[in-house]
Point group: D4
Chain length 226, copies 8
Amino acid sequence: MNNFLKNKKPQIIDLNFARIDTWRRERRGFPEIIYSSGKTIKQLIKIITAFKKYEDTILLSRLSYSQYKVLKKAFPTLKYFKLARIGFLGKKVYKKKGNVLVITAGTADIPVAEEAAVFLELTGNNVERIYDVGASGIHRLEPFKEKIQNAKVIIVVAGMEAALLSIVSGLTKAAVIGVPTSFGYGASFGGLGALLGMLNCCSLGTVVVNIDGGLVAGYFADLINR
Amino acid sequence: MNNFLKNKKPQIIDLNFARIDTWRRERRGFPEIIYSSGKTIKQLIKIITAFKKYEDTILLSRLSYSQYKVLKKAFPTLKYFKLARIGFLGKKVYKKKGNVLVITAGTADIPVAEEAAVFLELTGNNVERIYDVGASGIHRLEPFKEKIQNAKVIIVVAGMEAALLSIVSGLTKAAVIGVPTSFGYGASFGGLGALLGMLNCCSLGTVVVNIDGGLVAGYFADLINR
Amino acid sequence: MNNFLKNKKPQIIDLNFARIDTWRRERRGFPEIIYSSGKTIKQLIKIITAFKKYEDTILLSRLSYSQYKVLKKAFPTLKYFKLARIGFLGKKVYKKKGNVLVITAGTADIPVAEEAAVFLELTGNNVERIYDVGASGIHRLEPFKEKIQNAKVIIVVAGMEAALLSIVSGLTKAAVIGVPTSFGYGASFGGLGALLGMLNCCSLGTVVVNIDGGLVAGYFADLINR
Amino acid sequence: MNNFLKNKKPQIIDLNFARIDTWRRERRGFPEIIYSSGKTIKQLIKIITAFKKYEDTILLSRLSYSQYKVLKKAFPTLKYFKLARIGFLGKKVYKKKGNVLVITAGTADIPVAEEAAVFLELTGNNVERIYDVGASGIHRLEPFKEKIQNAKVIIVVAGMEAALLSIVSGLTKAAVIGVPTSFGYGASFGGLGALLGMLNCCSLGTVVVNIDGGLVAGYFADLINR
Amino acid sequence: MNNFLKNKKPQIIDLNFARIDTWRRERRGFPEIIYSSGKTIKQLIKIITAFKKYEDTILLSRLSYSQYKVLKKAFPTLKYFKLARIGFLGKKVYKKKGNVLVITAGTADIPVAEEAAVFLELTGNNVERIYDVGASGIHRLEPFKEKIQNAKVIIVVAGMEAALLSIVSGLTKAAVIGVPTSFGYGASFGGLGALLGMLNCCSLGTVVVNIDGGLVAGYFADLINR
Amino acid sequence: MNNFLKNKKPQIIDLNFARIDTWRRERRGFPEIIYSSGKTIKQLIKIITAFKKYEDTILLSRLSYSQYKVLKKAFPTLKYFKLARIGFLGKKVYKKKGNVLVITAGTADIPVAEEAAVFLELTGNNVERIYDVGASGIHRLEPFKEKIQNAKVIIVVAGMEAALLSIVSGLTKAAVIGVPTSFGYGASFGGLGALLGMLNCCSLGTVVVNIDGGLVAGYFADLINR
Amino acid sequence: MNNFLKNKKPQIIDLNFARIDTWRRERRGFPEIIYSSGKTIKQLIKIITAFKKYEDTILLSRLSYSQYKVLKKAFPTLKYFKLARIGFLGKKVYKKKGNVLVITAGTADIPVAEEAAVFLELTGNNVERIYDVGASGIHRLEPFKEKIQNAKVIIVVAGMEAALLSIVSGLTKAAVIGVPTSFGYGASFGGLGALLGMLNCCSLGTVVVNIDGGLVAGYFADLINR
Amino acid sequence: MNNFLKNKKPQIIDLNFARIDTWRRERRGFPEIIYSSGKTIKQLIKIITAFKKYEDTILLSRLSYSQYKVLKKAFPTLKYFKLARIGFLGKKVYKKKGNVLVITAGTADIPVAEEAAVFLELTGNNVERIYDVGASGIHRLEPFKEKIQNAKVIIVVAGMEAALLSIVSGLTKAAVIGVPTSFGYGASFGGLGALLGMLNCCSLGTVVVNIDGGLVAGYFADLINR
């Protein structure tokens, strides 16, 4: 391929209200993911119907349960991961790539963590979940110390002060991805506190994604493991 | 005393540009502290001269070294604590009140910590300093675990993500006071990141003071120990 | 105990979606408090059932009245403090520790104040409430001047400009804890105004907790009184 | 005058880089004030020279001492008020209008207060200064209670938490104008904390001007007194 | 009166959840105003019932229509001003004090303006309303130029960019009070844009109150007119 | 016309709660647009009825579908553009002015884009829509490169990081107007992220309007094309 | 040209530390402008020397006077516009395109305005400057009303509350571009106040560029006039 | 190793003002990096001298040129990378790990990029620099398209709107790390604009580090390549 913008038709499906990038898998290694929040059922059905002609793997993110229930009638093989708000058409990959640990500080952070974990499982990664280990009792990490030390990639999902990122990163050689969450009250200001906390993390070996960006973290972890 | 506002002259020394509260010690347990930043040498000399007639203990906070050098000529017994930027006239108290631990995350946080520590020593507290224990290597706390567990009050001074507050608090029954510092770069935004991190601390048993508020923390710790 | 992280099983109850810290009472002086907001009834029942095997005192914070009504059926001895949104299983402590004053600026601040006051009563503190004394009429504080001067700890709960913290602190030797509230309109910006007001408090002897952090303040006041 | 925009030449002196509003006195009751910060000496001389043909009262605000020293040579009758950073050509008015109290919380707030006070004196108001009465010792207000209760207008200048505005307003029938100052450290964030504190003031009878806006407050107080 | 805090019982009615300041009228010239938002009907009835023994003028601010409808049954003489959200018990004052102009930029700003206007009318001021004169067509001000030039006090209520404050102030000798409103979209950020716009107003003779603070502005305008 | 503020009656229709600027078309080239959000049906009917006597083209912006359905009964010729939330009375202009491209980054940005596009069509511009071309796959722009290079004006509507503005502007001689949208999650902070992204755009040839300001952009594009 | 990214060498001069876009004039209508702030003299000389082989018009923005004085030795024909901080090699264009008005609110805004005006003159536009017309005296606009009404494009440069943008736009059919400036004090917060004021401008027909973005506005005005 | 916190002396060198983590290499794969900004020469010499007994590789970050010149006398083998502000004692690693591309949007971003690049070279990575490819001319990326498509990791360093991150990520399967820089003016607000832009990046496969966090990005890239 000697021109990264040359026109190999059909690279795009033009639905007028949406343009589906059918060239994405070749160029980026994974087909376009359909962000479902704010789209009507009608729009989603049109997109999936058109996309299915080119792709056998379709992933719908931020898909609400009520959207899913209607879509399920049109696409009976549609799988749904409720906590993760992910819809999936196609076959799970069974590659058993490297280990990814997905850790949350609290119970409320689990939906964001699941968005990462489910994506990683669907793309063939070996995922282990460690939920609700907080920062106010680091001995809760103790039973997992070997897993933490041996992981290739760790995703830390935390709201409020997000101190867990620094603690986990300080114990491991793994690449650690922080996901701030919007859960909390008072000076958490919709996740701003957790975001600044993670960006200011003094422990080298960490990066940050958008607030509540579970999918963003999962996608990046899969990239490292490819 | 049956009226907290009754007029027992002279409760105030009126210097026109400043009003010194000579009733402070009786009412609040410690004489007024002179905030020196932004005051001229002339103003400071007038204040100290007038105040000395009523008080034998005068503490000057945020006193720069250059201010000190000039004042020293007028008040030869003036002691100076350089890192803490504290000037002191009078006698140190030797009460040996309860233990206070002053902990910093980094080396750059030391001046703020010293402001707390020096104040606490001058008021008769038993202070122990533990500096530069970071958050990226919690084993650095290991040698101090018994001190942390046995302290009555702990002051944690930290900038950037300030995760140390959560970690220390999670290990102890002590009352833990967080002091965010303005040291750092990027998204630390002059201490805002550390401030939000400490306010959002999930570990119960912690409170927060103003950014760089070493004296505020020291004063409060002394209150607990009285 | 010579290693603060050594593994004395069972220090943690692992419920998969939650990890309960059964070691908390020994280490920190009070059992883990269950933050109930955002948890399902199913999750709360699982947590309480498991926790009850190790603890006879279980405190649920931010428990809504509707959550309480369902839980009450499963745990008939569950007590509920409606304004404070606190659920409680176990026996109140009757230690009569030192006095704590809980003061609010307005009527709207009372629920946050109650969260502190109820916690303090349950843990055996002698609590006195002084509500709606505002900042715009400081004579409303007059009848309480002796209580203010004799208290060991005072909690000041206030929204909007939060000036009450400075005023109260200026009258007393007590340790004063400020709780900014999110109540208000306009430039109160969800409690940010009150938070900055309290952090910038010029009166030494004060500390601050998170916006609406009634429990955080109550817990810290109890620590001082232990 | 039956058209507020009709062209009565010369209402404007056009200096190319500046347009002086010679119609201001008639329309607004006071001639245009020359904001001097950021203007070159050359520009100031041109402005004053041109303006003097139409006005015998010229007030220069935010005039630095070094600007003044050079201008003094060109305009020997120029008076200068150093703390207030005000330059003045013309005659002081001796009208003895109503009383205005100018109060500051701290010593550092005095320059902003002087900007208001000097303006008010130059325009014939009866000004009384009460400086450094803080918020952490309200008894410092005690000696002035009658002045506070009898004033027509009060200007309160304060940084940090700015609680003094609420306290003073709660004691008086006077119209109270708050001036937040940028002096302070930490979470004062260049005056933002004081600004929000004053805007959120729960005591009716108060208004606010820009941070460090001493002249703005003085001008408004004079308007009330006219 | 020689002590502004001396105890002339009963200066306060203590209802436990609320403290009513019965001394307010003497001290500040107007009885305490009951902020009704967030208070239960039960609380409001208790407050009014207790207050009526000492005061014949009771004003309830931020009273919703549904609150009013219930209260009306208990207090049949209660008057209600729907747009202004003000409830009123007592007699309107007919003093015909000086003129106050209440001007809004848009239609959406009217409820905030009415809060000011109704308060001013109830306290005997001569109020004139000029609504929806915008900033994008200053000729809409033309028919009112004489009113603007002859007013003693003008209240300008505006959201979005709030430029109307500068324009009106530039045309008059009146004291001009700006009220930023939270109405708008996009970068109005809940009134922050209008607030900053009004604080930065270059035209001397203006002050600002809290976002949506119609009552605050009305109260202050009445103070000037007393 | 020799006085831009002279009074040519009737330039304003005064409805008490609203002042309609009937002079707008002559002065600014397009009649006043009625911002409908927050106005009652009653108010809208009064405004339209009064305005129709002077204007045959009436455009209602931010008109909700439910408002429209009621208004339609009173004004049967009222046209409605649902996505654009625009109501329209009068005749579309068929001038076929210069080409305007309206481009969106995502599907969720379409309603804002439609507000611009519909306005431009109603005022006789030749509009072409290119929706959902994202920034994560710039080859989606490929099929439109000639349109982009030949346009006179381009409107780019985008939320989140809004990078599309820089990319499009870098490819063309056209004047490019950026419209940040409030759509998104996490650190998009209600459109602030997109707004800052567009303001900081390094590519010369771009300007920005308010968040979600589709009409503002459309109006400006029409101005260029007149 | 049938591929907007096809490689027509040499479209880029690669200097390792900088890549000069020699294809810019063809693609965008004006050669690349060299942003000089932060570049060393050495880097600037290398860039100019390399660029001169392909371009006879080189414009350097944000060029300090001290940078200019050194560069002048290497490039004797370099012209410099001190207020505008623009350096220029080449010939001014004498096209006399449409009129552009450049208006400032204050004297301090002139350097930003000059950046726009000089660029527009160099590119052959007919520029008229109207400086220091403020918002606090709109009659200062009176002498220019016909120019304002007849202009094709107007650039309004203003700091603080930036109300001038709304006023000017309300008087004209011209396309009006707002440039907020960082000049000011207090709540101007480095231009944020002016920026929000301009973005929230209710008058249709306006757009905004970055704070202090004189060149950005000038460039866009030229685009409209091409 | 069966306890990640067990005490294997000497894991820490205690210098009182600093605690050096000699266990870091074993635990995290790279020795502790000395953050030099704000440290005195004396402190740096003490740290290096003590550290050298345990480590043969010592990296000093944020080391100023003037600090370096003094340290060079004490440690003659100290190497210095001026743009990157990195000091280095020890031997460069020659492992030739996977390729890392370091791309900057502008020339001003180069120092931050060099911090990443130099670190990566010192740790044996194969680094390629592509500087000043901007976002306003994406054809500047054209010559590097194969490198972009074949890289394992790409670091994108950009200020202002930071759109380059989305563009580069959209073209590649590589893991892309964004580094926002504080360079810029106006609404870049010290890097906040670039930070939000990068966090909101819609292209999956990207993560973000702190503003100006070149070392953080370099360290993470090396982790992926290990």
